[in-house]
Symmetry: D2
């Protein structure tokens, strides 16, 4: 049994981790910490928790976490993971960071996209492995510091990488139009998460300036073998709780047919446990992936047009966060990738 | 007082027309027809209808409609408007068709995009004026047959036309990613409009084959002064009742700045009663336009990127249908364009 | 033209008042005040506001309000209306208070149900007229201080009063089970109005201690001619924005039939412009009354049971607040009751 | 391993059963049948199903079901279970019927409440055990035919039975005001399940005539030790997918205090794995029980009133259907009651 600690266990991703790990046959939760002085009862956060459950929240104590865990999941706000991670790594723990602190491979990118933040551990940026499991499996297997991908980048990369890798599209023509449920914004109370604001509404936000832009650029470029990418990425807020649907538009290279496009995706994902490529004229919706670790992908190259469209759907809290984190843990510790999900 | 008949008054657009015309100081509703044998009571369809209202539904009788009306609004399914319109035009009525039968200027386009339909009155396609009021005002003023634009084309065209007219973008780079509330699908009961299907869900549909594609192409090309357009258009279904948000991405021509972009839109729409161009960093949402005839537009040309983004929001049933129809009636009969809306 | 001031114009009820009064042929809005230092633009609050509208928000200044208005609508939080009202009354204005400060006729009741609040103007409690228009029309016509009813009490009283007045039920058997949309909680941001809390959820709240309990008791008892009432009132929070549905259960007196029940309601409300009594087997829903000033009522006395059920539906912001306020203004100033609504 | 067959596996309750049984360590699904000629793919119905799953739908064949199963779950529409159950019982199978055909203990009650239906197997009505696990555990342990309770009756009975058993209330004063998510209506497409009808709406339905009325009466009366009950039961339709909240109002007997009430419920449910009695001033909501087999209960006896209020919340598809069915299977086959749920 792998002993698991979750640091920041009361947020949405922490709670999903608890749910997945409770079903995992080879993992036990040994430590749950919260920064709150009086956090809500776990039974209120984790619906369905057994009346006899002995899980409890505690304050973070480094020594205790180190002693009681083999792997530590960090579910902390940006800027708070880095200082904790460095200590846990020194103590020999495997660290899976669900935050943004180790996703980008350049300290300069944090300055530009994360409000001027100077990364306190730039050396670790090289050591961290980007945990997009399907494309970094070999690296994850060896990693002690896994930077779990962001939700938008997961949905975008799984659709973009095959297009780039197989050179099906003009890389200067890419549009990524993403739509996320509200849980992506976490539990914070603000005008944007007010029921009266979200319900029966829809909007674009952070147009041209969302902090996931450089992560998508890096993830798709590196795994896709492209040089610098200049795409248009616009995130939108859906009046639903869970799920991200990403519509990718790009201009295909001459001679790329619908059949070719389909074949590339099938070859790429055929043996993947958590990616489903849908059939002709089928496109994913959020219901099909909510509460699962699946990414579903639909695609088309309409006749008479230079454009192709790829649509991906994930649950932002599972495949876009906690599910992928457990998938990475499974890879890292040699379990079957589907443990905890079936 | 202009006497108004509504043919097909029990659908969503018919009901909206009733509501708007009831508030119109120079219009009176003289005839409401329904194809149903036992239509629901008007008080169930038009919430807020006075207990003393004398409005009633009747079966369509050409002679009666001709005798009792000055303007006839057709709210009929595709293929049903054309035969009715031709008779009403012969009888000297002004016809405003909220359906698709006269929107395209080529009978061939109907064959291709509307399931092989052979238009029964191809000669009328030349006579019909496309009622995108802001760009066809002069023509509407003279028209006896007004083809009221579709909902997606309205939202897309109001964003695209200024870009094309002022040659701000590469016309081969356009992506139109649209998201519509469910009322766009009308009242029909099917798996796609089942509560359990729509709620907490989101999906793309008719990707690469939506029948509004040629209408957007025609509307944007003609008013924008472009030659043939090959864009990517993907409509999506939102779990909300009303509203369409359209996110337009395109690659700007060298030297086009955010300021220039903004100025073009302000100049274009400054004197329009129903189009609001939002300020820097402001983007529209559906709430701001629901139950209004407004189109709100946000835009940006992010630094360091070749892309620009324009987002438009309308109420699909008002500016995207019945509101624009009344706006067109106002233009045609010489009323202030805002009558009925304030 | 009646000159109208709205004090506290940026809350939900203030905004609804603006919308209704803008359509009112005999009213003009002369003053809108907000307590906020930097309130949002009116065009963001009042969707559909004309681009040419000259309405603007200002800080409250007594002298200016007194000089510029004939009637003043108070849309202020509890405890804030009373001190303002007394000054406006002294200046000879007609005051319509949409808050709770003058609804109860006893200062002691405020102490008990409103957190120990000592009413600063107990003498005015006798002078204030309870503005449940259908049952206090004669008094409203003469009143200078109108206490506009609360949302739950409006829906409950319109269902209960005919039952009590005509002695159809055992007054000790009454259950009032109410379900409200979230706009009843106003614009405040808190855990209870967080999208993730409300969406796909439902709950009872303030069970046995809601502050509308004594108002319902007073309103139903006085107009219904009963002595003290001990009913069970439980409010619930619906994942919708607008509307209150109230299900009233009570044990009927021997010999009361479904037909008798129906007849009493029809007689009571037949000549009312804003109350619709539905037919046998018909029950109201929220859609039918949203954005209207209507109260719809369904009822039944099932065979073989001692119970009767009366269900009422209103829009909490219109008939349950701003609509009824304008209805009261119409009565007070001698206009047709439906002005502003049609 | 217990071999499980599900007859009618494509409905909402069938799909939930699949999900629960897939997680059950001592059960395997050996047969899934559907009456549809071309049912949707299981992967579309059961989101998260492994890409390698070998589960498949087949047409019902008695011999095959008999040979391949130990327990058979019937998820069939009313009137269709009875003929199938009798054959399976003769073949020695344990039958758990999630439909209504064996819930009532009198054929006459079916005639009255189920549209005149003459029960084809009245003798089996005596043999069937009502599967409200918490109160019929001993009987379930011995039963070969288990009538799994309806969703409304489960939520109502768990709140009512302790009140009646301990004689805390006047049994003639009971009001059961229930609110259900839309999945209770199943997958059928009709005006009532149209997105535009349900969304942002709320209504009472089948007032005074819902077919669960006699089941609640029987369940509460028998387990509660009361004589005939005449209560008011009104079901309502919530714009959410899952969950039933039931608000029970009743007049308490003299001397019953809040503390006494609380103690009775705690004593009743303290050792139950799936019933949580909440603390003072705490009331359940649907989120806490969705996707779980829990029933949560809040209660109060407000000072100064003769009334008490008990609120229960369940997931209609789990505790109100498939979860309780598996709970019953666990009891019947001697497993821990929580197997499959943790």
């Amino acid at each position: 049994m792998i002993r698991c600690a979750i640091i920041g266990a009361t947020g949405f991703t922490g709670v999903e981790l608890i749910k997945i790990l409770l079903r995992h046959p080879h993992a036990e939760i040994t430590c749950l910490t919260s920064r709150q002085d009086s956090p809500p009862a776990l039974s209120l956060l984790v619906s369905g928790l057994s009346k006899k459950s002995k899980l409890k929240l505690e304050k973070f104590q480094l020594a205790k976490v180190v002693k009681g865990s083999d792997v530590v999941f960090l579910c902390l706000p940006h800027t708070e993971s880095a200082p904790v991670a460095v200590k846990l790594l020194k103590a020999g723990k495997v660290v899976i960071d669900l935050g943004a602190d180790f996703r980008l491979n350049s300290a300069a990118a944090y300055v530009k996209w994360y409000g001027g933040w100077k990364h306190p551990e730039p050396a670790l940026l090289k050591q961290a492995v980007y945990g997009l499991t399907e494309f970094y499996r070999a690296e994850v297997k060896q990693a002690n510091l896994i930077a779990n991908p962001g939700c938008y980048p997961t949905g975008a990369s799984l659709g973009l990488i095959p297009l780039l890798k197989k050179k099906l599209i003009d890389p200067s023509s890419i549009v990524i139009d993403s739509k996320s449920g509200t849980s992506g914004a976490g539990r914070k109370l603000c005008q944007a998460t007010f029921y009266g604001t979200v319900n029966e509404n829809f909007k674009a936000y952070r147009v041209g300036k969302h902090q996931h832009t450089p992560e998508i650029e890096m993830a798709a470029r590196v795994a896709g073998g492209a040089s610098k990418l200049d795409f248009s990425f616009v995130p939108h807020l859906l009046p639903v709780e869970r799920g991200i649907l990403t519509t990718i538009h790009a201009k295909k290279h001459k001679g790329v047919t619908d059949a070719k496009l389909r074949q590339v995706f099938q070859n790429t994902y055929n043996s993947e446990a958590f990616v489903r490529v849908l059939g002709r004229d089928e496109f994913p919706d959020l219901k099909q992936v909510q509460n699962t670790n699946f990414c579903e992908i639909g695609l088309t190259a309409p006749k008479g047009s230079d454009w192709i469209v790829v649509v991906t759907a994930i649950d932002n809290l599972i495949k876009g966060a906690s599910g992928q984190a457990v998938q990475n843990m499974n890879v890292r510790f040699g379990f079957s990738e589907t443990e905890g999900f079936e």
